[in-house]
C-alpha cells in the first residue's frame, strides 16, 4: 500500500550487425523502447509506461538490457518490446531485436536469473563451438565459474568470445 512496486524486465539484444555492438548505449535503447511503446500503445501507453521507466543496466558485450517500469504498466512494456526493430545512434540505424528473458520484481532476482542463464549459455556454447582455442577458452571460464559464486562474474565476460 505504501511503496511503489516496480517490475524489472531482463532482455537480450540480438543483432546481425557486428558494428551495432559498439554503439549500444542506454540512451539509444531507452529511446528506441519508448518510441515503440508510443507507436503500439499511443499517447496513453507512452505516458503510462514512462512514469518510472529507465534502463537500469546495459552490457554491450553480451547485449543484456535491464529495464524498469511500474508494476501497473509492465504488460504494456512487454507487449511493445517485439516492435523494437532498430537502434538509432549517431545518425545510423542498426536493425536489432529484443528477446525477453525474465521479468522480476527486484534487481536481485534478475541478477540471480542472469547468472544461471549465463552458466547454461556457456555450456551450450561449449557444445556448439568448432574452434579448438575457443573450446579451451570456454572450458577455462566454465571451470572458473563453477568453483565459487564470486568467480561467476568473470565467467560472464568470456561469453562474447564465442558469440560472433
Amino acid at each position: 500500500m505504501v511503496r511503489f512496486k516496480n517490475r524489472y524486465v531482463l532482455c537480450e539484444l540480438l543483432s546481425d550487425d557486428p558494428r551495432c555492438r559498439h554503439c549500444i548505449e542506454d540512451r539509444a535503447v531507452g529511446l528506441a523502447v519508448r518510441d515503440a511503446i508510443g507507436r503500439v500503445h499511443g499517447d496513453y501507453g507512452l505516458a503510462c509506461c514512462s512514469i518510472s521507466f529507465t534502463v537500469k543496466y546495459l552490457n554491450a558485450y553480451t547485449g543484456t538490457v535491464l529495464l524498469r517500469c511500474r508494476k501497473d504498466s509492465y504488460r504494456l512494456l512487454c507487449s511493445a518490446l517485439p516492435f523494437v526493430r532498430f537502434l538509432e545512434s549517431r545518425a545510423q540505424r542498426y536493425p536489432c531485436a529484443l528477446n525477453t528473458l525474465h521479468v522480476g520484481g527486484t534487481i536481485r532476482t534478475c541478477q540471480k536469473f542472469l547468472i544461471q542463464y549465463n552458466r547454461r549459455q556457456l555450456v551450450m556454447l561449449l557444445q556448439n563451438c568448432t574452434n579448438e582455442e575457443e573450446r579451451q577458452c570456454i572450458q577455462k571460464s566454465l571451470l572458473s565459474c563453477s568453483l565459487t559464486e564470486e568467480q561467476s562474474q568473470s565467467g560472464d565476460e568470456e561469453d562474447d568470445d564465442g558469440t560472433e
Binding site: 508510443g38 507507436r39 503500439v40 500503445h41 499511443g42 499517447d43 496513453y44 501507453g45
Partner: protein, 98 residues
C-alpha cells in the same frame, strides 16, 4: 459537433476519424479495436457506434480527446450508451404502458 465550416464527413470518413482518434490515444492496439458504425446521419452528424464492452473506456476517452477534423475544431458528445440497441431508440423513463 462541427461548428459551421465546410464539408461534412461521410460515413467512411467518419469511421476513419474514429479510428485515427483511437490510434492517436491508444496506438496500433487501439486502432485495431473492432468498432462498427451502425448508423450515420450526415445532416445531424450523429451516429451509433458499436464496440466490444472491454473497449468502451478506450473508445470514449479517444473520442473525448479528439479535437480536430481536417484542421477544423470539432468535439464529440456521447449522448447515450447502452448494451442494448433497442434502448437507444427512446427514453425508457417516458415510456407509457397501456
Amino acid at each position: 459537433e462541427l461548428p459551421d465550416g465546410g464539408a461534412r464527413p461521410n460515413a467512411a470518413q467518419f469511421k476513419q476519424l474514429v479510428v485515427s482518434a483511437l490510434r492517436e490515444l491508444h496506438g496500433e492496439v487501439g486502432a485495431a479495436l473492432p468498432v462498427d458504425v451502425l448508423t450515420y446521419e450526415e445532416k445531424t452528424l450523429s451516429a451509433i457506434l458499436r464496440v466490444i464492452s472491454s473497449g468502451l473506456v478506450k473508445l470514449w476517452s479517444a473520442l473525448t480527446l479528439l479535437g480536430f477534423y481536417q484542421n477544423r475544431r470539432c468535439a464529440f458528445r456521447v449522448l447515450q450508451t447502452s448494451p442494448f440497441l433497442l434502448a437507444l431508440s427512446g427514453n425508457s423513463r417516458e415510456l407509457v404502458l397501456d
